[in-house]
C-alpha cells in the first residue's frame, strides 16, 4: 500500500525524528569545539562540575543508589584508584578497582567511625590488616594505601569516605578529608530537606480545617428554637448535625472526593437554612465527570461558609450562592459565587499573605493547603470588591495517583 496514510505518516514521523537526532548531535559537536579557557580554568570547571553532579546525587541522603553515582564523580576529583562510601553499618558504594577488599572495609573503618579521626593505612599494611579483620586471603596485587576520612554531620559520624591509591601522599590525605567534609555538608542538606518535608506535612495537618465553634453554637441554638415548635424538624436537624460533625471530625486521610465534600456542604447549608430561613438561596451546576475528583479534605466547605458568613450575613434581604464544578481538560474547575457584601481586595491580599488575622482566615487556610499540595499555580483565585459579591475559583488536577481519598 504505497499511498496508505499511515505508512506515509509513519515515514514522516521517522524522518522528523531522524532530523531531530542529527540536529541534536550537531549542536553537541559544535559545542565541544568552543574555546573553553586555560588548563587551570578547565581543571577548576571539571572539579566544580563533578562536585555539583555528586551533590545532586547525595541530595536524598546517604543511600546506595545516590552514593554509587556520587562515588564515581568523587573519584574523578580525588584521582584515586578506588573510592568507597559507607554509612555506619555497611559499604554503600564502591567505585574503581580492588573490589575484593569490600568485605574488609567496615573492619578497617570501625576505628574511624568510633574515633572520628582521619586514618591513613600506608601501602604494605593493607593486606595484613584486611586478613586480620577476617577477610579472605588477598593477593598482593590489591595492595594499596588507604585514606579513611569520617563524614561528620553535625556532631554525629554518619559514615566514612575511603580513598585507595598506590601511595598515600599528603595531597591525597588532605583532599580526602575535604571530600568527606563536603559529603557531610550534602548529607546535612539532605536532612534539612527531610525536615522541611516533615514541616510541610505538619503544617498541612495543622491547617486541616476545623469547623468553626461559632457554627456549632449557632446551629445548636437554631435547633433548640425548633424543639417546641417543630419537633420533627428539630430531630432531623440533629441527625444532620451529627452527620456533619462525623464527617468533619474524621481522622483518616487528608483527601476526599468532590462528591463527598458536596454532601458535607449540603448538610452544612441545611443547618444554616434552619437559622436564616429563605434568606439563603443556593444553586448548583455540577458536571458529573468531576464528582470523583480527589480534593483536599474540607477545602470547599470553608469557602461556602465564607460566602454565607461574610457574604450574606452582613447583607440585608435574601442572598444567592451558586456553586459550579466544570470539567476543564485535565483539571476540575470549582467556583463558588455569592452576591453578598464582598471584600476589600487589599485587606484580603494581606490576609492571604498571612500578614493579618482578619475575618477570612478560612480562605487563607484553604489557599495555603492548595498551594502546599498542588503547587503555587493552584491557589485560590478570588475576584471581589466591596458591595460586588465574591467569586472564588479553584483548579484541581484530576490526576492524583499518589493521593488516597
Amino acid at each position: 500500500m504505497p499511498d496508505s496514510p499511515l505508512f506515509t505518516a509513519a515515514a514522516v514521523a521517522v524522518i522528523a525524528m531522524a532530523i531531530a537526532v542529527v540536529v541534536a548531535v550537531g549542536l553537541k559537536v559544535l559545542r565541544s569545539f568552543r574555546d573553553l579557557g586555560t588548563d587551570a580554568e578547565r581543571a577548576t570547571y571539571k572539579t566544580l562540575h563533578a562536585a555539583s553532579r555528586a551533590g545532586q546525587y547525595l541530595r536524598t541522603g546517604l543511600n546506595p543508589a545516590g552514593a554509587a553515582k556520587a562515588s564515581r564523580q568523587l573519584r574523578t576529583i580525588l584521582g584515586c584508584d578506588a573510592l568507597a562510601i559507607t554509612d555506619t553499618t555497611g559499604v554503600l558504594a564502591w567505585d574503581g578497582a580492588g573490589e575484593e577488599l569490600r568485605p574488609a572495609l567496615m573492619g578497617l573503618a570501625s576505628r574511624v567511625l568510633d574515633g572520628g579521626h582521619l586514618a591513613v593505612i600506608p601501602a604494605g599494611e593493607l593486606v595484613l590488616l584486611a586478613a586480620g579483620e577476617g577477610g579472605r586471603a588477598l593477593t598482593p596485587e590489591v595492595e594499596r594505601a588507604v585514606v579513611i576520612a569520617p563524614i561528620k554531620a553535625g556532631a554525629r559520624i554518619v559514615g566514612v569516605v575511603a580513598a585507595f591509591a598506590p601511595a598515600a601522599g599528603a595531597g591525597l590525605v588532605r583532599a580526602t578529608g575535604e571530600v568527606a567534609d563536603w559529603v557531610a555538608t550534602q548529607v546535612e542538606l539532605a536532612e534539612l530537606d527531610v525536615n522541611r518535608t516533615l514541616l510541610m506535612e505538619a503544617e498541612v495537618r495543622a491547617l486541616r480545617a476545623q469547623i468553626s465553634p461559632h457554627f456549632i453554637y449557632n446551629s445548636l441554638n437554631a435547633i433548640a428554637s425548633f424543639i417546641n415548635t417543630d419537633p420533627v424538624r428539630a430531630r432531623e436537624l440533629v441527625v444532620e448535625f451529627a452527620d456533619f460533625t462525623r464527617y468533619s471530625f474524621r481522622r483518616h486521610g487528608d483527601f476526599t472526593t468532590l462528591a463527598e465534600e458536596l454532601r458535607c456542604i449540603d448538610r452544612y447549608l441545611l443547618l444554616e437554612r434552619a437559622r436564616f430561613g429563605d434568606r439563603v438561596q443556593v444553586s448548583l451546576r455540577i458536571a458529573p465527570e468531576v464528582l470523583s475528583t480527589v480534593i483536599p479534605f474540607l477545602s470547599l466547605q470553608p469557602l461556602v461558609e465564607n460566602a454565607v458568613g461574610h457574604g450574606l450575613e452582613a447583607k440585608e434581604g435574601p442572598g444567592h450562592i451558586s456553586i459550579t464544578a466544570n470539567d476543564s481538560g485535565a483539571f476540575a474547575e470549582v467556583t463558588i459565587e455569592d452576591d453578598g457584601v464582598g471584600m476589600d481586595p487589599e485587606q484580603l491580599r494581606s490576609v492571604l499573605a498571612g500578614h493579618s488575622d482578619g475575618e477570612h482566615v478560612g480562605l487563607r487556610n484553604v489557599d495555603a493547603r492548595l498551594r502546599q499540595v498542588y503547587g503555587d499555580d493552584h491557589g485560590l483565585v478570588i475576584e471581589t470588591a466591596p458591595g460586588e459579591g465574591t467569586l472564588i475559583t479553584m483548579r484541581i488536577p484530576k490526576s492524583q495517583p499518589l493521593h488516597d481519598s
Binding site: 500500500m1 463527598e260 451546576r285
Partner: protein, 487 residues
C-alpha cells in the same frame, strides 16, 4: 443524489454536537436537588459515551467496505474491535480507575516514579492519537466527496473546525452526554436504513444473485494474518488514549468494570449492522469494489436499494451517522491529546490546553491532506498494532507485574515502536504487492518482542524497581471505599 441533503445532514449533526456540548449541563439546580445534582455518571451513560467515542470511521464505513471486498474474512475486524474490550474488562479497567491517574502518561509516571518514562509515554500517546485521527479525516473526505460533490478537502476541514471550535470554546463541558448521543445516533443511522432496505427487498423479490461472489478476487486471508490482526486489535484497545480517559468518569473500579461490560454489549449490537450492509453490498453493489470505492458502500447502498425521496432521506441519515463517527472519535482524541500535550509542554494552564487542542487537531489535518486513504479499517488496524506494541506492554506489566522498571518500560516502548513503525515504513516503501504478510500485519511478532524487551531489561535493571511500587500496587488491586453520594 441530491447534494443539499448531504450538506444539511452534516450541518445538523455538527450543530447538535455543539448545542449538546454547550448546553447539555446548563441546568442549574436549587439546594433541594443537591442529591440529583451530585449524582455520578451512571455506567449506562458512560458506556454509551465510550461506544460513541470508540466507533470511528473504521467501524462505521470501513467494516462494511472490507466485507464487500474480502467477505467473511473481514468479520475478524468487528470481532477484534469488540473483543478488545474483553481484555480491557479483565485486565485494565478496574485497576486503572483505582490508580487515580487521568492519562496514560500520568499512570506510568506514578507507577514507575520516573519523569523520563512519562515523556516517552506522552510522545507515544500523541503519535498514536495523531495516527488515529488521520483515518477519521480520510473518512470525512470520502463522505463529503461521495454525498455532496464538494471537493474532498471540505470534509476534514469541517470536522477539524467543528472539533476545534467546540473544544476551544469550552463546549466539551458535557462531553459524556455528547458522546453518548453520538453512539445512539450512529446506531440509529445504521439500523433504520437497513430495516427499510430489507422491507423494500422483501417486497420486490430481489434477484437472488450469488452472495458468495468475490468481487475483487482478493486472496483468502491466511491463519497468520488473522492471528496477527487479532493480537493487534485485542491488545491495541488497551492502550487507546481516548478510551482510558473515559474510565476516570466512573466513580470507582467496580463501576468501571460494569461500564466495560455494557460497552461489550453495545458494540456487539452495533457491529451487526455494518456486517449486514457488507453482505447486502456483495449482492447489490459489487461494482463499488471494482472501482475502489468499497468504503463508500454504507453511504451509497440506501440510495441504490430504496431510491427516490425516501432513499435521499435514508442517505441523509447515514451521512449524519458517519459524521457523528468522525466528530466523536476526533473530538475524544483531541481532548485527551490536548490534556497530555498541555500537561507536558504548556504547564497545564487553560490557555495551554486550548493551544494544545489546536495543535492536536491541525497536525493530523496536515498529515491527512498529504496522504490518501485506501482502506479505512486496514489503516485503523495498523494504529491498533502500533498501540499494542508500545503502550500495551507497559500498561499490562505495570498493572500486573511488580518487577517492571523505568528502564524496562522505555526499552519496551522503543523496541515496539521501532519494530512496528519500521514495518509500516518498510511496507510503504515496498508497496502492497511486494509486502510479505509478516510485514503487512506486524503485530504477531512486534507485540511479543516489545513484551520480551520490557521484561528482559526490567530483569537486568532489578535495582531500579521504584520504592513506591508496593503502595501503588496495593492501591491498584484493593477495592476502594464506596463513594458517598447516596443518602
Amino acid at each position: 443524489m441530491n447534494p443539499v441533503v448531504g450538506v444539511a445532514a452534516v450541518a445538523a449533526v455538527s450543530l447538535a454536537t455543539a448545542v449538546i456540548g454547550f448546553y447539555g449541563l446548563r441546568v442549574s439546580r436549587t439546594t433541594g436537588d443537591f442529591y440529583v445534582a451530585s449524582r455520578t455518571v451512571k455506567p449506562w451513560w458512560n458506556a454509551s459515551a465510550i461506544g460513541g467515542e470508540y466507533l470511528s470511521a473504521a467501524s462505521f464505513l470501513g467494516v462494511a467496505g472490507l466485507i464487500l471486498l474480502s467477505g467473511t474474512d473481514a468479520l475478524w475486524y468487528p470481532v477484534g474491535y469488540t473483543a478488545g474490550y474483553l481484555m480491557l474488562l479483565l485486565f485494565v479497567a478496574a485497576p486503572l480507575r483505582r490508580s487515580g491517574a487521568y492519562t496514560i502518561p500520568d499512570f506510568t509516571e506514578a507507577r514507575l516514579d520516573s519523569r523520563a518514562v512519562r515523556r516517552v509515554t506522552s510522545l507515544v500517546v500523541v503519535l498514536v492519537g495523531w495516527l488515529y485521527i488521520v483515518p477519521q479525516l480520510h473518512g470525512a473526505a470520502l463522505a463529503i466527496r461521495i454525498t455532496t460533490g464538494l471537493p474532498a478537502w471540505v470534509g476534514p476541514v469541517a470536522v477539524v473546525a467543528v472539533v476545534c471550535i467546540t473544544v476551544v470554546a469550552g463546549g466539551m463541558r458535557s462531553i459524556t452526554f455528547v458522546q453518548a448521543f453520538q453512539y445512539w445516533l450512529k446506531l440509529t443511522a445504521l439500523a433504520v436504513p437497513i430495516v427499510f432496505m430489507l422491507l423494500v427487498l422483501g417486497g420486490t423479490n430481489a434477484p437472488a444473485a450469488a452472495p458468495a461472489v468475490n468481487p475483487t478476487a482478493v486472496a483468502p486471508t491466511g491463519p497468520y494474518q488473522i492471528i496477527s490482526l487479532l493480537v493487534a486489535l485485542l491488545f491495541g484497545t488497551l492502550g487507546l488514549p481516548h478510551v482510558l480517559v473515559r474510565f476516570y468518569t466512573n466513580p470507582d473500579g467496580q463501576s468501571a468494570r460494569r461500564t466495560t461490560l455494557i460497552v461489550l454489549g453495545l458494540l456487539s449490537v452495533f457491529y451487526l449492522f455494518p456486517t449486514a450492509y457488507g453482505m447486502l453490498g456483495r449482492v447489490f453493489a459489487a461494482d463499488l469494489a471494482q472501482s475502489g470505492q468499497a468504503d463508500a458502500l454504507v453511504l451509497l447502498l440506501p440510495g441504490r436499494v430504496v431510491g427516490g425521496a425516501a432513499g435521499d432521506l435514508l442517505t441523509a441519515l447515514v451521512v449524519a451517522g458517519a459524521f457523528a463517527a468522525f466528530l466523536s472519535t476526533t473530538s475524544g482524541l483531541v481532548v485527551s491529546l490536548a490534556g497530555v500535550i498541555s500537561q507536558d509542554v504548556f504547564g497545564g494552564s487553560v490557555r495551554g490546553f486550548r493551544l494544545a487542542a489546536l495543535v492536536s487537531a491541525i497536525v493530523p489535518l496536515g498529515l491527512a491532506s498529504m496522504t490518501e486513504s485506501l482502506a479505512l479499517a486496514g489503516s485503523v488496524g495498523l494504529v491498533f498494532a502500533f498501540t499494542a506494541s508500545t503502550i500495551c506492554p507497559v500498561l499490562l506489566l505495570g498493572i500486573w507485574w511488580r518487577g517492571l522498571t523505568d528502564a524496562g518500560a522505555i526499552a519496551g516502548m522503543a523496541t515496539g515502536g521501532l519494530l512496528c513503525g519500521g514495518a509500516m515504513v518498510a511496507g510503504s516503501v515496498l508497496g502492497a504487492a511486494l509486502t510479505p504478510s509478516w510485514l503487512a500485519q506486524p503485530a504477531a511478532w512486534t507485540v511479543p518482542a516489545a513484551f520480551a524487551a520490557t521484561v528482559l531489561v526490567s530483569r537486568a535493571t532489578r535495582g531500579r524497581v521504584p520504592r513506591t511500587m508496593t503502595r501503588l500496587m496495593t492501591r491498584l488491586h484493593t477495592p476502594e471505599r464506596p463513594l458517598a453520594t447516596e443518602r
